[in-house]
Amino acid sequence: MNVMTNPAALDVAPLDVGRIRQDFPILTQTIRGKPLVFLDSAASAQKPRVVIDAMVHAMETQYANVHRGLHWMSERTTEAYEAARDAVAELMNANDRSEVVFVRNSTEAINLLAHSYGRGVLKRGQAVVISGMEHHSNIVPWQLLRDAHGIELRVAPITDAGELDMAAFEALLEDGKVGLVAITHMSNVLGSITPAERIVRIAHAHGAKVMFDGSQAIVHRKIDVRALGCDFYVWTGHKLYGPTGIGVLWGKRDLLERMPPFLGGGDMISSVTYEQSTWAAVPHKFEAGTPAILEGIGLKAAVDYVRAVGYDAMAAHEASLTEHALSRLAAVDGLRVLGQAQDRGGVISFTLDKAHAHDVATLLDRQGIAVRAGHHCAEPLMHRFNLDSTARASFGIYTTHAEIDALADGLIRVREFFK
């Protein structure tokens, strides 16, 4: 299986995982007397020292509410918070910092879009296309839009290998009714990476805008929104080694400008009278109320950290981990990996015969190994494969090959135990 590019071929210095691990204080913890083997980064990643320190530094030395203060603390806090916008704009190669809207998480970003683009720009009778491997957060907001606003919801099927069925996808767009394609850039269950540029080309050729749910992809791949050519891109800070409580909606400026606001309140207005209010310019139009200030500051530290490590090195490391994991897991009796996409990231879902996924997770936890089990907020995808749940191991920059060996050995024990 061709798992991304071979690290050697990328000509990047291999990641010094030992050094990286020293940046994450939590990794020295033990669980039930065993060293922590944290293989649940796709659910939420651990936080490096620099993120913790940035938040502490703000709370200890310069904190106040932002944007409206004329005093020193407020000025400094505003600078620090707005610097996060610059960092994110640069990370994603946005045209302009004003294209970066801060939200709580991917879920809120998609809801914002479903509300402001869905109700504000799409017209009754138009359709939204999602795929058969979406997270609930990229399903439910469109269902709510469908039910409240008469927008049709179409689902592009996936193949048995867990890839988007491109012919079927294109067919869904043929009648020209599709106004927006909202598709994951990387599945949180299968690890599959979708062909973003092709999706954009096809969608644009049929007059549809494209949003990618990059919640997983941003952790594994350098995202260049201009190169992708997409119209919206969303992700969530806590998976990119940042704090909870902050996420990103990136959108092309002219589209953001055409969208009505989502939440109303302080900071998003230009002027307010009882009769009528007018809105601030983007991105502030979409950021009502006191923002997640400390979280923005933490996110900036995370973005800086990730850029310092380098996406090439991260991607190479994860490709190598994934390759190793797939080959070790293949040797576990009765284990079946879900999805065999050609292009995939470091997320592997599997089932074990004779043992239910929850029992697998608990028995691995007993050995200090953290994996997730359940439907992974992707019930329709589970049903597509006639499953209720799988176990899932997912990797971060701090994951080692030895941890994958521990997982494989642990699974062999589980299997023996349930024999």
Binding site: R32, A355, H356, A357, H358, D359, T362, L363, D365, R366, Q367, A373, G374, H375, E379, M382, D388, S389, D409, I412, R413, V414, E416, F417, F418
Partner: protein
């Protein structure tokens, strides 16, 4: 690693009796004739169970179940059936409360003395208290049973 005693660390939660009832439940069947039935649903993990009850006046005469879930929920359902057979509704509810305490805390120190003997059968499940999310696996069939006795159609262990 392949020696039996190397499983000690796993065995404290998954005792032999749980593995056994999880693998080969004795009462996993739909009753043909029944007085009450209810479904239980754990939306957080997707576990589902249905319970059928045949009563003899106020006494539980037979119970059958169908479960889709982990070893713990299946074993718990099976042990539940063995525990409640020939008991009154009131006793069954008291047992449920006692079991709930056991599952949540690992002990049931202030359980009524009258329950001591039947509770012994459920003791192997005490280990779940360390796993708050697995507590629901263990209590789900009980929720369904109580719902059936109460004439409710659905229970959730959420």
């Amino acid at each position: 690693m392949t020696q039996t005693d190397s499983f000690d660390d796993l065995r404290d939660l998954y005792q032999e009796v749980i593995l056994d009832h999880g693998r080969r439940p004795r009462h996993a069947q739909r009753l043909e004739a029944f007085d009450a039935t209810a479904k239980g649903d754990n939306p957080m993990c997707g576990d589902r169970v249905q319970v059928w009850v045949k009563l003899d006046a106020d006494t539980i005469d037979r119970v059958g179940f169908e479960a889709r879930g982990c070893a713990i929920s299946v074993a718990s359902a099976d042990l539940m059936v063995e525990t409640v057979l020939r008991r009154s509704r009131a006793d069954t509810k008291a047992l449920f409360e006692a079991f709930r305490t056991l599952a949540r805390t690992g002990v049931c120190s202030d359980c009524a003395a009258a329950l001591a003997e039947p509770m012994e059968r459920l003791a192997p499940l005490a280990g779940v208290h360390e796993y708050p999310s697995r507590v629901k696996c263990a209590t789900l069939p009980w929720h369904a049973l109580i719902a059936a006795l109460d004439g409710t159609k659905e229970a959730s262990s959420e």
